[in-house]
């Protein structure tokens, strides 16, 4: 199903839900002010619902906004959810941030989202892109003096290549039917690229990967898992993490941010898409999720019943490293 049809389907579903009064608000995407910058949108009435859209650049994780609603808003919300967003919703329900009844999931099968940085790099960093539209498996990029067709699977986000659950895992209605469950990439092969290095090499690779970090916390704010009222980076007594861009502070921040997602991260890639510096923010979370799969045979966000792996224990958990 093409984007126009999906957009139409989302708008119809949203208008219906708002007109019926089933929900107070529909959380979806609207076009950004520049191409390839689709952004979250809150539709409160059927007229506003006509601004909702669907495209391959819907990279924000909308589950993030389900738990960050303005104070006083308590009604039911509908949310447009592709596979990863639905997995995040499952995680939030599990962590008691949300109940299943509070959310109406408008499921959309994800075709694999696109990375605007990769598109820009492919077209040329100095080119101004004025329009980008998807036609089947291709992306048509236009600008002054050029018109380029790019294969969709060349410019997908890293996490979308290895996604194994593109269809929503929970939904109240599904727009446009299901898609193939996987793109065929294997996450375990690419999750931990620094494993082949020695400790000094690992530290160098780690520091290099995050050297451009400006500590804007976009990765934290884009993450639906980061909902603590006071974040460890904002605590000052004791101060766990300095405020500077020193290597030590930057690396401490990223280690702890990743650790806080252990056994919870659904690999939606919102952190990486949000990063203004183009840092491969998923390097640490993918490694942790790989360990969690290996040690505790657990993949987060797939169903509502299981207990998150770091909230439970078994008598025979691995402990070879403990004296």
């Amino acid at each position: 199903m093409d984007n126009q049809a999906l957009t139409q389907g989302i708008r119809e579903a949203a208008s219906r839900l708002l007109a019926e009064g089933t929900v107070d608000c529909v959380l979806g995407y609207q076009a950004g002010t520049v191409p390839m910058r689709e952004r979250p949108f809150f539709a409160y009435n059927p007229e506003e619902a006509q601004r909702l859209i669907w495209s391959g650049f819907c990279c924000n994780n909308l589950a993030d906004f389900l738990i960050r609603r303005p104070a006083g808003e308590i009604g039911k919300v509908a949310v447009v959810a592709q596979g990863c967003v639905s997995r995040s919703i499952v995680g939030l329900i599990k962590e008691h941030q949300l109940t299943r009844e509070q959310v109406h999931v408008i499921g959309v099968a994800s075709p694999g989202m696109l990375d605007r940085d990769k598109v820009q790099a492919l077209v040329g960093p100095d080119k101004v892109i004025t329009a980008a539209a998807e036609e089947g498996d291709e992306l048509v990029v236009e600008g002054p003096g050029f018109n380029q067709r790019i294969a969709r699977n060349k410019v997908m986000r890293d996490n979308c290549y290895t996604c194994v659950q593109r269809n929503p895992v929970i939904f109240d209605e599904l727009i446009g039917g299901e898609s193939e469950p996987t793109h065929g990439g294997v996450i375990d092969k690419v999750a931990a690229p620094w494993e082949r290095l020695d400790p000094a090499g690992r530290l160098a690779a780690f520091a290099e990967n995050y050297q451009d970090c400006i500590r804007c916390y976009a990765c934290r704010d884009a993450c639906p898992l980061c909902y603590c009222h006071v974040c460890f980076v904002d605590e000052s007594s004791p101060q766990w993490c300095g405020k500077t861009q020193d290597e030590s502070d930057v690396l401490t921040y990223h280690i702890l941010r990743a650790f806080h997602c252990a056994g919870r991260c659904v690999d939606c890639g919102a952190c990486e898409s949000a990063c203004p510096q183009g840092i491969k923010v998923r390097r640490l979370t993918s490694k942790i999720e790989k360990d969690v799969r290996e040690f505790y045979a657990y993949a987060p966000g797939l169903e509502l019943e299981s207990v998150p792996p770091l909230s439970m224990h078994r008598p025979d958990d691995p402990q070879g490293f403990i004296k």
């Binding site: 000094a200 224990h313 490293f321």
Partner: protein, 146 residues
């Protein structure tokens, strides 16, 4: 530290109040000798140990970190050490993945009756950290800790 002196590591040692801390006490009253490189920090349970403590130790100049608590099944709070075990597994793998040398971060289960195991483990941990030399991992203020 001058070049001629032998390197003496500083090791932050987090001990559970109900077991290893008692074990250290027993080692003391039993006159068991062990290297003076550890700085004992008492915590109520290994389950209380947040990974931020470990990073903070390295940031502030520790050359090694050692965490010790009750044997599985002996936790004063029934299961604190079992949750901690899962957390340590993930943490140790993560830190070693990002460049912490194996041998800087140690874990052990030592009961309050195991003074000899305590003594042996201090020796083991100290030797392992000493062999690796001063730690640079995440160290924040070199001037402050020199």
């Amino acid at each position: 530290m001058s070049e001629t002196q032998e390197f003496e590591p500083r090791i932050a040692a987090f001990f559970c109040n109900w077991c290893t801390y008692g074990g250290a006490d027993l080692a003391g009253v039993s006159r068991l000798q062990y290297p003076p490189n550890i700085r004992a920090i008492r915590i109520p349970c290994t389950g209380r140990l947040s990974p931020t403590f470990v990073l903070q130790a390295f940031r502030q100049g520790a050359d090694g970190v050692w965490i010790s608590g009750c044997h599985p099944g002996d936790c004063h709070y029934i299961e604190g050490n079992l949750f901690a075990r899962r957390r340590f597994t993930v943490l140790k793998n993560l830190l070693e993945y990002v460049g912490l040398e194996p041998g800087r971060l140690h874990f052990s289960w030592i009961s309050s009756a195991e003074a000899t195991k305590f003594q042996q483990t201090v020796i083991e941990v100290t030797e392992a950290v000493k062999a690796l030399g001063p730690c640079r991992f995440l160290r924040k203020d070199i001037g402050m800790v020199a």
